[in-house]
């Protein structure tokens, strides 16, 4: 009966799929290709109601096979993708995008651009929400490619102007690219998402044409709009922009303060700390200490010499001036139960000494002040340092010994 036929057909389809899957997972592209040619028959009688139909499976597996198959060529791949585009209306834009990605990764920028333009002009009935998103992405990538063309023309122009002649045709072309790029890039970055490259390119365009207000607005929106994810890069771009604009320290600090609040372990925290340490205001210096302590809480910073030397410098300053010891005390309070095991164990002392002497120097200084001269880390490192007759380690030992009472005040 036809029902049974359907059932059998479905079974053999499933079996074929699992063979393809098996071959793909074992990187046997030829075998997978053979099975795939059998599977194509399933398109004829597509009774499935699964949300991934046979046409999508053929597209996915076919593309994967053609990426890896030793005898496939770009021409074949293009041909295959063109066929896949016509297979399913719902996936047309998605397949176009993937095709473009593959062209871009293979350095075929012009072909990719053509494909994007074609896809952009595609219309079919009412667009679904997903198709709308895909269309926006297609436009954004076209904008990105326009930006690269603009940037190329700009470089030509700059070289020419250095040589002393100007070319109005090149300039016209460049402005044309600018307009095309700006329109598309501006669109996508309004929608919540992660648009790092698009934002960077758009801001670059705006800055070149002197539209700093718009650039600032775009970056502020990208960083502070709550509908967008908490992307550290948004804050980094804003900070870099403010720096380029030679904005006052105050606004730089406030930009970094927000970055510190969302990502205390960001690598810009070293710059932030240096900036704060130089400040004359007590509150800022206090914040600087907080920032560097917080950064060193993270496992990724454990062996960061720069960070340890920042902390060592600031702690040393405070100890010498004997003012604001309470700052250290407060920071140390929430850490004294785990920093010794995390940073200042004997095992780490040995390893740091073996692998990185200057790291062990900075850490030993901090350990000596925070934990006193009896601390395992300090004892081991200073002992080794003195044994190796290194002058700065001898100084370190003297310094810690002299300021040992500080430790009692901090831990008390």
């Amino acid at each position: 009966s036809s029902n049974e036929h359907k059932l059998n057909f479905r079974k053999s389809k499933e079996a074929c799929l699992s063979f393809i899957q098996d071959a793909l997972l074992q990187k046997e592209w030829k075998r997978a290709a053979e099975f795939l040619t059998c599977y194509i028959e399933s398109l004829e009688k597509d009774y499935s109601r699964e949300h991934i139909g046979p046409s999508e499976m053929i597209w996915r597996t076919g593309a994967e096979i053609l990426w890896h198959h030793s005898q496939s060529s770009m021409k074949e791949f293009n041909c295959f993708m063109e066929q896949m585009k016509t297979l399913g209306v719902k996936r047309y834009l998605k397949v176009c995008l993937e095709h473009v990605f593959h062209l871009l990764c293979n350095g075929q920028i012009d072909e990719a651009y053509q494909n994007l333009s074609l896809a952009e002009s595609w219309r079919f009935g009412e667009q679904t929400a997903i198709q709308d998103k895909e269309m926006k992405l297609i436009q954004a990538y076209r904008g990105l490619l326009d930006y690269y063309s603009w940037s190329k023309q700009k470089n030509i122009l700059l070289e020419n102007s250095e040589d002393g002649f100007s070319d109005s045709a090149v300039e016209q072309e460049m402005h044309g690219y600018f307009r095309k790029a700006a329109v598309n890039l501006k669109e996508i970055i309004k929608i919540p998402g992660v648009w790092d490259i698009f934002v960077k390119c758009y801001v670059d365009l705006l800055e070149f044409y002197g539209d700093h207000n718009e650039a600032r607005q775009v970056l502020n929106e990208y960083a502070y709009n709550s509908k967008f994810p908490a992307n550290p890069n948004a804050h980094v771009y804003l900070y870099q922009f403010l720096k380029r604009q030679r904005e006052p320290k105050k606004s730089l600090i406030s930009a970094l303060k927000i970055l510190h609040d969302i990502v205390p372990s960001h690598e810009l925290m070293i710059d932030f700390n240096t900036m704060l340490q130089k400040s004359k205001k007590r509150k800022k210096r206090r914040l600087g200490l907080e920032v560097i302590f917080a950064a060193l809480d993270y496992a990724g910073w454990k062996e960061n010499v720069k960070a340890w030397s920042c902390l060592a410098r600031q702690v040393k300053q405070i100890v010498i001036s004997e003012k604001h010891l309470d700052w250290i005390k407060q920071e140390w309070n929430s850490r004294k139960d785990w920093w010794p095991a995390f940073h200042f164990s004997r095992y780490l002392a040995k390893r740091n000494w073996r692998e990185n002497k200057s790291l062990s120097y900075e850490k030993a200084l901090v350990a000596g002040i925070l934990l006193g001269k009896g601390c395992k880390y300090f004892k081991y490192v200073s002992h080794q340092g003195c044994k190796a007759q290194l002058k700065r380690f001898r100084m370190l030992k003297k310094f810690v010994n002299r300021h040992n009472p500080v430790y009692l005040r901090i831990s008390g």
């Binding site: 046997e28 949300h51 990605f101 994810p229 908490a230 496992a299």
Partner: protein
Amino acid sequence: MEFPAALFPSYFGAGPPQEEGGPAPLAGWGEHGQVLEGGPGRRQVQPAFVPRRGATGERWEAADAAAVPVLLPRAGCWIPSPAPQDILYRSGLCKKLRAGKSRAILDFTRQLGHFFVDHPEDAFGSLGRLLHKNFYLGNSKLQRPARSSTIRMTALVEDIDRLEARRGCPRQHLASRLRWFSHLCRDWLFEVPLGLLADCLHEELMQQWSNLLFDDSLTGGALAWLPPEDRGTPVGCLVHPGGQAMNHLYFQDVVLEELPRTRGAPAQFELSGRIQQVAAARVDGQDFVGVRSDYHCGVWRLLGKRGAVPTPLQVIHTDVPASCLTVSPHLPGELSVCTQSGTVYLWSVETGLQQLRHDPQTMFFRDHSPWRWSDFTAHPRVLSCADRTGLQCLDARAPKRCHFDLFKVGEEAGCQQGERVVLPMYLGRAHPSQYLVTTQFSVYVLDERLPLVPVLKWAHMMKAPPLFAHLMPGKPGRSHKVLLGASRTQELLLLQYRDSFWGVSSGGSQSACQLAGTPQKLHSIAGCLQHLPTQLPHRHHLLQQRLTAPAAGLAATLQEDGPHKSMLIFQLSEAGDVFCQRLTHNAAQPPAPPSRDEATTAPGSSPLFEYRRWLRALSRACKEPPGHTWSPSLSQRRLFTRKDLEGPVGPSSLQRQMRQRLRQTMKEGGLIQHWAPLALQPPPLPQALEPAGGLDPLSARLTAAWAGDWEQWWEERTSFSVAKRQQALRERRRRQKRAQGRRSLSASFTSSLTYQSELSELSDTGPSVLSPGRPPLLSQEASPPAGSPLVHSPATSAAPDEALLSSQSLRCRGIPKERRKTLRDYLSVWAEGPPEPPEPLGSQASQLCIPSSQSQLSSASQPRRKRPRMGF
């Protein structure tokens, strides 16, 4: 670690997932996802792009055709966990009903029946004792005075038997007598109120069934590899559970060679519960090993030097089963524990437990699963907590105030409807702020500096959800490898990803995370079945059952020996087997990929040797006392008190005679055909009857066994052919009578005896032909092999002593008259031998479903009664 200066573009939405869900075969192929400018292109000429997925990865190739056993099986056979057929209703009718719908029907009544039969004392104890005088089981009519206070139960029992026989019949009507009886006594007969008991049983059955569909207690896996020290000899340590109840913890030193080789005897600890998870981390050169069972968690410490004895540090006990135990990679002796009540603890060996959160509700939306997980993050004081709906990070110093959402099943991560978190894992060894989250559909890599937005997402297409994951960090610039493992299907998948690549758009600094190479399927334990030497069919079946047992853990290690890089992957099964496979790194750019027929289809000589050794050890380990699994055993203690059974002092002459005969037969290696006293010489064996087919029964039986449908043969033989034989015998008797006319009385007596013994031969010799090595039923009292304390001894001897059953001796033991026949009938049923040999474990396994407080373990080896070594 620097934050990537530019991330791959992606949309960000909020709210519940929009995409319609469902398993999507092949959904992970053929997609680049997104592209980003990067790579070593010269910007002036042309931008170069890199894809999120599809970049080239390292080539790893399997060194052998299948996985190879690392450890030899230990004594004591594995008890398989319940299978669907143990708890599902199966009858012809139901199968027909089920064909349309796929809903499973739990066999509730059978399980309740099992409980009543197996635990009569718990079910009816007190009322049974009270009413025992008022229930009469004999066949004769009751006398006048007794009739007023006694009920005759025989008819009722017959009704029940009839009901059993008609089971599955669509026109099944309850006998009115039964209905009347159940109405009458349903409310008071049971020790535990029936409604309550039924609720508990139903709950347990549902639990068992959902465990069969998806058992999350194994999440994380119970296998750990403690790598060798950086500059030491290549000796690592494999930490794995073992024993029949998987309640022994082993620390086995393993030398890494071409194939890993065990060295010395393992350090062994006996724990008081099934080991569900073994987690390990190395801090300051010491390995900390956390072990989770349902109600206990323990932590061991190993000093870096191999061969050092592991030191148990601490044990905690939880009231609710623990669902997670992870070991801190930052601070020595710190772990995190979650229980199914929604509590998360930070456990420090020095300072004890600190409760971070208690919330029986799930975090982001309602989900019924009590499963919770927790792991460490880049900040030693910040822990992640997970349930099926997502992950949050909490600061242990102020858990109520300081927390943020790391992952949500929702539009934020582009999830599908119905997607649920299966296993989160901190990827700290590869990148301090990255996290792996697997769901039944996809794997995600998250960066805690950019919460909620996955930096990588890929549909893994595995058939079962990945419960195990293992990370092998790559050196800077090289890809990290992640292994995903599923339990039920034993799938193993190798993925590669790079946490960063050299980006131009980012001004020459690190750029976003990308998936490298294509995923690769690795050998599963079951895959080696086809490479094993040919086995006898029933052995093959047992072997298959053992090798296809669900996976229970996963561990791996990278080995670099100069230019040669290889990867060793260990897989643990629920049966306690650890298998290993080696992948070698192929540095050269792909020549022609080796075709399937070359090299990879047959294992080399040394794996074959390993298989043989393993098989030999397995058959040695599983050589069980006869009757242990094949014949039902019966405790007489349930029926009678010891006083009842105490016979007259000293063996009777009959007994002495019997013993002597037994001894002699054993000496001769013969069989005892019939338990009649010697005086009555066993009648001569009748001539074998030629069955219709022409084959003699033994050959027919062997032929059937070889063909694999022995079960069917047996069935036919017991039901249909008995009738046929009886018919044939009657036929023969008639012929004999007709031929000989008159015969003496004694002759006819003999001939009727012949008929009897022929029938008994049928049931007696059945099993002994099946496996000639096994003595017949009577030698059941053999003790389990010495030196294997875990092998649970079979219940006390089942062999009913004929003399014991004589009405005389029963009387002198004070057993009431009406119970004597019941008893004799009862024991004779057991004495007939195994009714259904091909499914020996079925009845045993189904008993596991009975809701007793100790559930599985109690029937397996009763580890609770043993004195634990360290209060565990």
